[in-house]
Symmetry: C2
Subunit: 417 residues, 2 copies
């Protein structure tokens, strides 16, 4: 068995190269492959063009041990991956009746029988291993190329994900020996990348040779990724954890999490463990905090709901915010955001609430309250914190940063409950 195999992901489709879709498949695949110890050497996106696919496949098979192709397997004319691979591997398409059986089992509702285009999915390369796709009509094609492997799978994300988890990763794990790579991520808030690098430079310079550090700046946070490589996985984990503890001694209060998990999941776990329920009153974040919280399965156990009070009428009619206060101090102000939080706490009978009010932009800024000014308040029955932020001039970033700051303040009040 080959050790430390390298992978190349090739995503096929004109829609990627004209920028009509974002290729989320390769990030998902790369993260799953890395978890299993397969390192991804390169990601290549090419068009639905026979010469181009052929060149990319040929170059990849020279560079790496495993080539994973997604896309170009649809039943319509613009999809040509299957035909291209047949020519490249000098084989032909043959009819495979079990593909039809699978499609009939998957989509019994197709009462008029399978249409001609779907039927064409049953024609598959002769000298390949055909793996059934339990989530769609295009089967998976696995080619053994001497000691290397090439797999062609659908590009529809949900199909690709099912196929990777249930068919491809288990087979690759049997076929290759993977090293003990380990990634751990520390999420830090309140520092710019270069300021953080200077603050922790002694720690960074004294990291053991088996650990590599990377800085990943994101909106409002910097992620530090520690990647370890040692044959002994237990020792490796311990070594990384010791370094994280040393880091905590330097910038402990700025560390939000020591796992690369989203804040909304972390908060969900905290709420469950404290048997508390959350509500939100959102103006400038427009429901985005509620959306993030409810993206987590099982969030109905700890999320009551939200009032998205985008207009002042709704702030007044639903949340009972004083009209005089809004006229006097403005909707983007400390007393208004505090009334919003306290009101939604009562209204929904929640234990903790967060409220946001700000100028997301691009319009609506004033000299006093320019675009990016956001007030956020979190409260419980007996605690209240409110804070003013000055974010950027971009609407999408202001919404994201305000949501992140709101989540971070929820975490702050929960940890002290």
């Amino acid at each position: 068995m080959k050790n430390n195999p390298k992978v190349e992901i090739i995503t096929i489709g004109d829609e990627i190269l004209i920028g009509q879709i974002v290729d989320t498949n390769s990030a998902w695949m790369a993260s799953q492959l890395n978890k299993e110890g397969f390192s991804v050497f390169q990601i290549t996106s090419v068009s639905d063009n026979e010469n181009h696919i052929t060149e990319a496949v040929d170059a990849a098979l020279k560079r790496v041990d495993i080539v994973l192709l997604t896309g170009g397997l649809g039943p319509t004319k613009d999809d040509i991956t299957k035909q291209t691979l047949c020519r490249y591997f000098n084989t032909e398409l043959v009819f495979n009746s079990s593909v039809i059986d699978t499609i009939n089992r998957l989509f019994p509702a197709t009462k008029n029988g399978i249409n001609e285009l779907t039927y064409s999915q049953a024609y598959v390369p002769k000298n390949a291993i055909i793996i059934q796709n339990a989530t769609g009509t295009a089967p998976i094609t696995w080619f053994d190329v001497q000691d290397k492997v090439l797999v062609s799978m659908p590009g529809v994300p949900s199909e690709m994900e099912w196929v990777m988890l249930h068919e491809i990763l288990p087979r690759l794990a049997k076929r290759f020996n993977t090293p003990s790579l380990l990634h751990k991520t520390v999420i830090v808030e309140g520092y710019a990348e270069s300021a953080l690098a200077i603050k922790i430079s002694d720690w960074e310079n004294n990291l053991p040779a088996c650990i590599k550090l990377a800085y990943l700046p994101a909106i409002g946070i910097v992620k530090l990724r520690l990647t370890g490589n040692l044959p002994d996985k237990v020792l490796l984990e311990k070594t990384i954890d010791i370094e994280i503890e040393k880091l905590r001694a330097i910038i402990g209060s700025s560390i939000i999490a020591t796992e690369d998990i989203p804040l909304e999941l972390l908060i969900g776990e905290l709420l469950k463990s404290k048997k508390m329920q959350l509500a939100t009153a959102e103006s400038c974040t427009g429901g985005n905090i509620a959306r993030l919280i409810t993206s987590i399965p099982g969030s109905s156990a700890y999320f009551k709901g939200s009032v998205v009070a985008y207009s002042n009428e709704v702030k007044e009619a639903v949340l009972g915010v004083s009209k005089e206060l809004m006229v006097e101090r403005g909707a983007v102000s400390q007393p208004v955001v505090e009334q919003m939080a306290q009101s939604v706490l009562r209204l929904t009978a929640a234990d903790v609430a967060v409220a946001t009010s700000g100028v997301a932009g691009p319009d609506g800024g004033t000299p006093d309250k320019p675009v990016g000014t956001v007030w956020i308040c979190v409260c419980t029955k007996d605690k209240l914190i409110s804070r003013k932020y000055n974010f950027s001039t971009f609407r999408d970033r202001n919404i994201t940063r305000a949501s992140l700051a709101g989540l971070s303040m929820i975490k702050e009040i929960l940890v002290n409950c």
Copy 2:
């Protein structure tokens, strides 16, 4: 000047190859480049490794006319793009004082002076054109390589976007002749990809040779992309529009839009033109419809707000949904979703409202109402439509599809108002 130049985008960063981030930069760049007539031939993602960057750059310069690099320009140790390009182009780093001037102008708040890491950004390759970055600390490096061009720019999305729009695209437009490529997209709902392909096969087979068709299935919809290529841009646009009209005669009622714009933007335009205001009452979509609507700049002109009634207590206390009804028929039912919509319409004094209630999963399904069952209602003062959907078994897809269906139903009721 060179005609029809081909572009390769190379994104650099270990975080891409371990799947820690989704590379959204290349899709954004590809879409902007395509608008200007530059066709993107390949997108390649490589690690922060000198040999690998060198090989990718070398291969790209053989394949294409323009190579655009993003990433690896941070001030920390893991970023090595600048040093690698110096060695590749056989040059050295020299100090450039205008980089420091730009940083001082951009970040005047840095009272203690620029820190040493930020200072290092002023060392730039000697034989390149240095373009100032008005949004961050890393300058842009432009190499002329005989008749080809290589540009290295930051990987932070907001910086890259500014740099592309204000510096790179205008310079490329002066340097190369681009063809009259034109993409138009028709968004179709209610068809699976293969069923749609059969329905419109005659139309597809009779498309003029200058138009290429692609099918892009997404959650709940299929996008048809028509790409035209003719020297005469006016004639080209007319030719494509004629084909879209022919398509409308076949599947007109299933065409949601003839532009590749998100539904939330389309609805915003409709609401503005009809001077109507929207509210949402969301259970299973958890605020996602409100989030989509408020992602559009200026949405405060037509969006009142939302009640995210995730728990039955909030459905009762805030929206006044009858408790008996919820016990008798269940929260996921036609009468409950209708009460939600009508109630939020009154509560917020909106002109049109949408409500969702469903089983997003993975838990909470019953034989009667399995995971994926969603009731949606839209109403105005005198109209009401409610509909039951059966989506998938995946939580994220159910939330996305329910939000899209809700938006689509808003559009349906608005068009007939």
